[in-house]
Structures are given as structure tokens and as C-alpha cells.
Symmetry: C2
Subunit: 214 residues, 2 copies
Amino acid sequence: MPGKILITSGPTRQYLDPVRYLSNGSSGQMGQRLAQSALDHGFDVVVVSGPVTVRYPKLCQLVSVVSTDEMLNATIDHFDSCCGMIAAAAPCDYAPAVVAEDKIKKDGQRIQIDLLETPDILAKVGQLKRANQWTVGFALETSDVHERAFQKLKKKKCDLIVINGPSAIDSDHNEIEMMDATGFIVSKFAGTKKAVANAILQQVKKRLLGTGRF
Amino acid sequence: MPGKILITSGPTRQYLDPVRYLSNGSSGQMGQRLAQSALDHGFDVVVVSGPVTVRYPKLCQLVSVVSTDEMLNATIDHFDSCCGMIAAAAPCDYAPAVVAEDKIKKDGQRIQIDLLETPDILAKVGQLKRANQWTVGFALETSDVHERAFQKLKKKKCDLIVINGPSAIDSDHNEIEMMDATGFIVSKFAGTKKAVANAILQQVKKRLLGTGRF
């Protein structure tokens, strides 16, 4: 019995005022493909997703959120009943220190905004996870890629990390490397997000479920 | 012969770094409905759209852009051959003063960013328009709605302005008022965006094409 996987997916938004927000171009496609692939591999799936237009498989449980705090809370709520989590979301990691109640009115002048870091969902789950639970992170870096990915994996206590570049955002294709907890690249893969999702699920099954931890 | 209408649609994005951007929740649905309605009323249509997932009618010419500057340039390029413009886009009106080349690395500290106003597309077109061209703007305000809409209409030299609220964003429904160049509310309408689009096109035909200006 493979159990249930939690997949976070899509971007989150952090509003400056009722209209404008900070976000990123994550489309939710990778999360959608991972959800389908996890179902195909026999897992139950819960998807915690930010605002996207992709449609997740009907057979998964969908929890829709907007902000990073909401994604964190929903993730913590659901992780307890899951064997592991694949963090494919791209949560907005900065939030305006002040959110204006009314739409900020333009007056021709520059404005300055303070941005605070939002909670790190994967790191929080890394702290919470039990010995028989695992997490897979995603690293999207534009320089110093392997070193940064390894630092991220250690900081967030991931069991595997999927490394990709900004070209993955809002594209149907992806080119990835997978790094294990020792920093070793255990797999490279390029293809459609559907094929990449399947490659990731295979590694999860082989390395995380196959280790006797379950 | 009704001629050609330019419709701007969707949000624009202003990047802070290769991944993070400032934007808003405009879905492009209103622009999509206006494009279809304009075609139905016999106009040729060119749509200048920011990044959206809606599909515009095949019979319109589509120009895809990302930033507000790109939307401005494409709009100016195409407006010359049009009888008028309906500005349904929600261009991101602030842009970071500095765009980081690499993804900004989190270090636990708050960061401060300067935001500059982006060019006002509708105001620029208002300055360029010939005596036989017209523009219809959209006002999305959260307080002081009519006064702000009238100031906007005057500043941008619109012939009509459509007033709606933030509930219109990313929704299939809309509730609008239309204000003419004298500040008079000439029409109120609530319904699906398809019905609202048709109501707007009817006002365009009645008030802008019917005045003998064409």
C-alpha cells in the first residue's frame, strides 16, 4: 500500500494592496503532472495549490490557497496523514511588510516598499517530519546551481531535491537533475513535464519507498 | 464599414529578478469577451495582451507582450490603423527601479525595493489620438469611485470610461457603470462578462460611432 503523497503546486501571491501583488510565473503544470503520475503509481494524492488555471486530476483532493501563509497552514494540516511531500510549488517568498487597504494611488512619485521573507514551507515541514516521512524539494537557481541546491536540501532537510532552471517556469518541458541527501546527482532527465514527473516518481519509489523506511 | 478596434487585455508583469514579478489578477476574460463582441458587431479586432491563459477568438489579430513598456509600444504601433481602442488591460503600473540579473538570494533580512511608475498607456494614446479616433478606458477603484473615475477619464482624454470594482478581477461576472466625457453615468449593467462586453460595444456604437464622427 503506497499511501498518500502531498504535492504543493503553483505560485502564491502576496498582495501590496487590493489589486497588486508579488508572484512568479509558476503555472502549476509540474504539480499537475506529478499528481497524475503519483495516482498512476498507486498513491492517494492531496494537492495544495496556489492560483492557477491548470486542472488537477479529479481523483486527487485539492486544497486551494492564495498566500504563502495559507499554503503553509494547509500543508501542515495535511502532511500528518501523508507518507511524504513533493514541494513543486513556487511560493512567493517575499511579502510586503504593509498591505494597503485601498489601492495605492499613483502620484507620479517613486514609492518604496519593504519586503519581508515569508515562512519557508519546505523547511517547516522538514522540521516536522517523522522518521518514516520524506520530502522532495525543488531548487530553481540561476547561478551556482549545485552548491545552492545542496545548501537548500540540507537547510530544508529534504531527502531528494529536483534541480531545474527558470526555463521550466510556465513551459511544458523541463530539464532536471535529482540530488540525494548526500549531494550526489542520482539522475538527470529532460523531456515533457509528464515524462519528468514520471521520472521523479520512479526515484521516489526506488530511493525513498525502497529503502525499507516503509 | 465599422473599421478596426484595438483591445488591450490582461495584466502585464514587471520583474524584480529572473523569477519574481509584480502583477495583478487580471485574467484577460473581459478582453476576450470584448474581442468576440467587437467581431460580432462587424469590427476587425487587434488584441494586445499580457500573459494570460484565456484564448482569444481566432479571427482577431493577437499581439502578445509581457511588460508595460512592451504593451505601450505594441499599442502605439497598432492604434494608428484603428478607429478606436478599448483599454481592458490592467497594466502593472509600478516597476522595480532595479531589476536583479540573478535571483535575489534570501538571507533572512527584509529588503527594500524602489518602485517607479510605468508609462500610462491610455494617457499616451489619449495624446496621440486623432479627431476621428476614440478611446474607452476602465477604472477599477476601491474608494471615491466616481470622482476618481472622472479624474482618470479627463487625464487620459477618454471618450467613455467603464467603472468596475476589484470583484471583477478573475471572475466571470462583472458589474459596471459607464461614464461619458462629461462625467454623466450613461449606463449601468450587471451580468456575465460576455453580456457586459456586448453592453459596452452597444454604447461604443451608439455614442462613439453614432455621433457622426465617422
